[in-house]
């Protein structure tokens, strides 16, 4: 297979290697160095897709990221939606199709890897065209740490698509020398195939490196497919180039209509002739090199249709030499063609009026309406833009201190100017860093032809009868017309942002690179206002679309959020525990035995704790060590009850409130020494409580001599629970006198447990006789195994969080976050006893006297006993006063916060927050379930061992 539209002697493709690919079901070939678009053009394929709204055939307009038409769906090797054919590097086995509307996501999992790298530099240069290269070289020679990112596979930028000479040699030779020098600099990193897409605060530039996309199915699986670079740059130079813009005329959307500079790129970079016979329609000088180079490569240039009245002599002479006719003062008014442009209609155009039309046959219509600096990233960096009426474009105005543009991104359009501008930009960036840039000897570009200003022309009047602009496309991807813009202004819209939304211009994949400024121009003309006052559409990040997977990087699956496990985790797993996620922790939920349901397992675990002995892993409880002479003072201010009076060796339960008086956490506090306390927090709140305490300590009471340290993971904590717990403890801690008098409830002792130094606390979250054994985490498994072995004869049973919840609920010990929701005070929980009357103040106290807190009908924690003792109320169920459900809205009295089957009570029970709950003890209320109601009796929340007789065994 051959490529009929290749130009011999041109292009940077590797003709020795042939790549096979499929487009819209047809097999083609191309070469390394091609893009999908260039390979299609080389095969004579112009019709890439049909347009979204009108179904018109569309071709390739551009050669880069600005392409609005040639949007493709990759089908193989892995489906990827909506890529521009002009930026997809060709690889063997590529299978793609043209897209007119929506892309398709694969239902197969994407197994490719993605990752992220951080990088820091003095200077980041974006774009390896002439300006970017001189900027990088200048900074590199000054010894700066420089990163150069460039979206193309090789450096050179616009030089790759031109026939410019530098120092009398092809410009790419100069590029090669510069890059060789940069490669030799240890502090310079050049990243090709890397597109900067976001500029955030403090010089954070995000760039996407496509590492293996160009390898297709041959991509090695161990190499990340794409990589996000998070570059912190002290200074940034955007040498991002410029995008050529078209001019709107009738039927300006046919395949074969192409931006002039892009055609030049296809010839010089890809060795592709985009047609055989061309008409060139231009408003400025930049189309002439395209016309001349294409002519020299064998394209017949049927005419240059020049909107200006005058053409610089240099270009006229060059055209004359090649027999190219220039029609000055003319415009293209429309085109003919079926699948492809076949004729351009040309007419004189002066003083706003069209003269007589004439058709010129062609298979290629090149258009240049001028150039728009690529300022998306500069704008993201909060650089401001100004309208330059001379070139009809928005150019950088004010740059933030650490950001500048160079080359055509800044409105400099000559090669010599770009080369010089790059070096200057680097020098200014370096001097901002207190360094001196090296002056470069710039390569010679040869004499500059005398140029002339371009003409700013947004659209050509339509020669058609009927609605104005109704065949003139502005946004090719959205199929939006000049007539749509005029309809928007006619509807009363005065802002380009409104016009954008009315017409959808600029909302497509290309973000309006070829249509945005044109829209401003047409709106300004329609409203009779200055483009400068109207402004242009806001450019939003990212500058190019970025795959979700690339942004997610490695933060997926297990790495989405760290998994925290206790030192005993593997024992639990080996013993069949199922786990509950509590914050980042994996906590044993329950330990089903073979064939056992959850309900059966939990009842068995509860029974063991109430009748024999049971043990659990409580290591996830937050633990904060509080040390210093003022430790007691700090705790007095943060807990609702008094902590400073706690004796060394004793333990006290405490509650913390927010300043609004609502309970935020609870736990035990032990006094380790005169100036040392250790407090526990709920598992999920450990970090928050420490930060809360530090906040008060550091910002409000920095005079207090206290230090706070998290010791959560230092300890393994094992509650040993049940009437036989003392017997088990005696076996593993024979030296500890665990008699009630020697070791009373709410005290702690140092002891040796299974040969390990331990701190044993006599606290109980179940109401049973219980010992909380704390040992260094490293020794946790030794102690756990010893307890498990010693308890064997007593039937010791490991239990999980579910059983813990049942046992504590039977005793009405609340779980902060389950029985509370940020609107519940300690008093609401029936725990007025934990609120000190003696302390003059503590956090939350003042709020208790607010009007809402004084209401008699606050919601209070109560117990609920379903009339049918087998009915398990769902947690979260609402409570009403009537046995029948009235029409909505139904007055609700409260809700069920906890609900369980109790082995000890031999029935179901629940805790609930109920309006005026403590006054309703004994009342029957109703829980609506599935359209009926379940009667429940309101009770005191403590349903088991109300007198507390079991805690001493």
């Amino acid at each position: 297979m051959t490529n009929p539209f290749r130009a011999g002697g041109h292009g940077r493709i590797d003709r020795d290697t042939t790549l096979s690919f499929t487009f819209d079901g047809t097999a083609y070939t191309g070469h390394p160095g091609d893009t999908l678009a260039s390979a299609l053009l080389a095969n004579g394929v112009h019709h890439v897709a049909d347009s979204i709204k009108y179904g018109r055939p569309r071709g390739v307009l551009a050669a880069g990221a600005e392409e609005p038409n040639a949007v493709v769906q990759i089908e193989a090797p892995f489906p990827e939606p909506m890529l521009t054919g002009t930026t997809v590097e060709l690889y063997d086995g590529l299978d793609a199709r043209g897209l007119s509307g929506q892309g398709r996501l694969s239902s197969r999992p994407d197994t490719a890897r993605y990752d992220t790298l951080h990088a820091h530099c003095d200077l980041l240069v974006v774009g390896a065209g002439p300006a970017g290269l001189t900027a990088t070289l200048s900074a590199a020679r000054a010894g700066a740490r420089v990163i150069l990112v460039d979206e193309l596979p090789e450096p050179g930028g616009s030089l790759l698509g031109s026939q410019e000479l530098l120092d009398g040699r092809p410009a790419t030779e100069w590029v090669g020398e510069v890059v060789a020098e940069l490669d030799a600099c240890a502090d310079v990193q050049v990243l090709q195939r890397t597109t900067a897409f976001g500029h955030y605060d403090d010089g954070l530039v995000l760039a996407l490196e496509k590492r293996t996309d160009h390898l297709g199915a041959a991509a090695p699986a161990h190499v990340s497919r794409q990589r996000i670079w998070r570059i912190r740059a002290r200074q940034v130079v955007y040498a991002t180039g410029a995008y050529e813009r078209p001019v709107a005329f009738d039927d300006n959307d046919r395949p074969g209509i192409m931006l002039a500079g892009s055609a030049r790129t296809y010839l010089n970079r890809f060795g592709v002739l985009p047609g055989r016979q061309a008409v060139v329609f231009t408003t400025n000088d930049s189309a002439y090199p395209a016309a001349l180079e294409l002519a020299d490569a064998g394209v017949r240039i049927a005419a240059v249709v020049e909107a200006r009245e005058e053409v610089p002599a240099h270009w006229r002479t060059a055209c004359d030499e090649r027999g190219i006719e220039i029609r000055t003062g003319h415009v293209v008014t429309g085109t003919s063609g079926v699948e492809h442009v076949s004729r351009a209609h040309v007419a004189p155009f002066s003083r706003g009026r069209l003269g007589e039309r004439q058709g010129i046959d062609c298979d290629l219509l090149l258009v240049s309406g001028g150039w728009n600096p690529a300022v998306a990233l500069f704008s993201q960096a909060r650089g401001t833009l100004r309208y330059d009426a001379g070139i009809g474009a928005f150019v950088p105005a004010q740059a933030p201190g650490s950001v500048r543009t160079a080359g055509s991104a800044g409105g400099t359009f000559t090669l010599a100017g770009c080369l010089a501008d790059g070096g200057d930009a680097a020098s200014r960036a370096l001097s901002a860093l207190g360094r001196t840039g090296r002056t470069l000897t710039l390569p010679s570009t040869g004499p500059l032809p005398q140029g002339a200003p371009g003409r700013v022309l947004w659209r050509v009047p339509s020669p058609r009868d009927g609605q104005d602009g109704s065949h003139q496309f502005v946004d090719l991807q959205r199929d939006a017309l000049v007539s749509d813009v005029l309809r928007a202004t006619g509807a009363g819209l005065r802002s380009v942002e409104h016009v954008k939304r009315y017409t959808t211009i600029g909302t497509a994949h290309d973000q309006g690179r070829t249509s945005g400024v044109m829209t401003s121009g047409i709106v300004a003309e329609a409203l009779g206002v200055d483009v400068a006052d109207l402004g242009t559409m806001r450019l939003r990040p990212p500058a190019v679309p970025v795959a979700f997977a690339a942004l997610a990087g490695r933060n997926r699956g297990e790495l989405f959020d760290p998994v925290r496990v206790t030192a005993l985790h593997s024992w639990h797993a080996e013993h069949g525990a199922l786990f509950e996620d509590v914050g980042q922790w994996k906590r044993p939920w329950y330990y089903p035995q073979p064939g056992e349901s959850m309900e059966e397992a939990v009842l068995r675990e509860c029974r063991a704790a109430r009748t024999g002995v049971a043990m659990m892993d409580g290591s996830t409880l937050g633990k904060i060590n509080v040390q210093g002479p003022d430790a007691g003072v700090l705790l007095d201010r943060l807990y609702t009850n008094m902590m400073s009076t706690l004796k060394v060796g004793r333990v006290r339960y405490g509650v913390m409130c927010g300043v609004d008086g609502m309970a935020i956490d609870d736990g035990t506090v032990i006094r380790v020494a005169e100036q040392e306390f250790l407090l526990t927090t709920t598992t999920g709140n450990a970090a928050k409580v420490l930060e809360w305490m530090e906040e008060w300590l550091q910002t409000e009471w920095p005079d207090l001599r206290v230090h706070l340290t998290s010791v959560t993971e230092h300890w393994v904590t094992i509650p040993l629970v049940g009437p036989r717990s003392r017997d088990v403890l005696a076996l593993v801690a024979p030296d500890l006198d665990a008699d009630n008098d020697a070791f009373p409830f709410m005290s702690w002792r140092d002891a040796t447990v299974a040969g390990i130094p331990a701190r044993v606390c006599r606290i109980s979250f179940s109401g049973e006789l219980a010992y909380e054994i704390n040992v260094p985490a490293w020794d946790g498994i030794t102690v756990w195994n010893a307890l498990y072995a010693a308890g064997g004869p007593f039937g010791i049973t490991p239990y999980g969080t579910e059983t813990m919840h049942v046992l504590r609920a039977e005793k009405a010990y609340p779980i902060i976050g389950q029985d509370t929701d940020g609107t519940v005070t300690p008093q609401d929980l029936g725990m007025s006893w934990v609120v000190s009357k003696k302390k003059p103040d503590f956090i939350g106290k003042r709020s208790f006297s607010r009007e809402e807190n004084q209401r008699g009908d606050r919601k209070q924690l109560v117990g609920l006993l379903p009339a049918d003792e087998r009915v398990l109320l769902p947690e979260g169920a609402q409570i009403i006063a009537t046995s029948s459900i009235p029409q909505p809205p139904v007055p609700m009295l409260g809700h069920v916060t906890s609900s369980y089957r109790s082995d000890a009570l031999q029935r179901t029970f629940a805790l609930a927050l109920v309006r005026s709950g403590s006054e309703r003890i004994g009342e029957t209320l109703y829980v609506p379930l599935d359209g009926r109601t379940v009667p429940v009796t309101v009770t005191d929340p403590v349903l088991f061992d109300k007198e507390g007789s079991r805690r001493d065994g």
């Binding site: 955030y200 605060d201 403090d202 010089g203 954070l204 912190r232 909060r382 300043v659 609004d660 930060e691 530090e694 906040e695 550091q698 910002t699 409000e700 920095p702 103040d841 106290k845 003042r846 709020s847 006297s849 607010r850 009007e851």
Partner: protein
């Protein structure tokens, strides 16, 4: 993502920090001398200026130290960082210009 200059650790990524809202809001000397309106001002009401704002940050994933900063809420730019016990600094140069520019809008 900003670089925030922790006074103790130097510049670190924003993800290491937690925000603490308005600075210089002292716990009332005597909460019981305040009526409910005044108490509510302390509990729930904070300034919300468009422009320079003295606010608190904590280097949560670093040294765990709280500090104050003046930051422009329009540009998000940090104009100063300072000790929690220090008064709000008078800003000079461009930071002062920003403060002045936005000062009228500050509440």
């Amino acid at each position: 993502m900003q670089l925030i200059a922790c006074p103790w650790c130097g510049e670190r990524e924003e993800i290491e920090f937690h925000y603490g809202g308005q600075a210089h809001v002292a716990y009332p000397d005597d909460p019981y001398a305040l009526d409910d309106d005044q108490w509510a001002q302390y509990v729930f009401f904070r300034d919300n200026p468009k422009g320079p704002f003295a606010e608190r940050w904590v280097h949560a994933a670093g040294c765990r130290r709280w500090f104050n900063a003046v930051r422009d809420t329009v540009t998000h730019e940090f104009l100063a960082v300072y000790d929690v016990r220090a008064p709000r600094p008078l800003l000079t140069g461009s930071a002062a210009a920003a403060q002045q520019r936005k000062g009228q809008e500050a509440s």
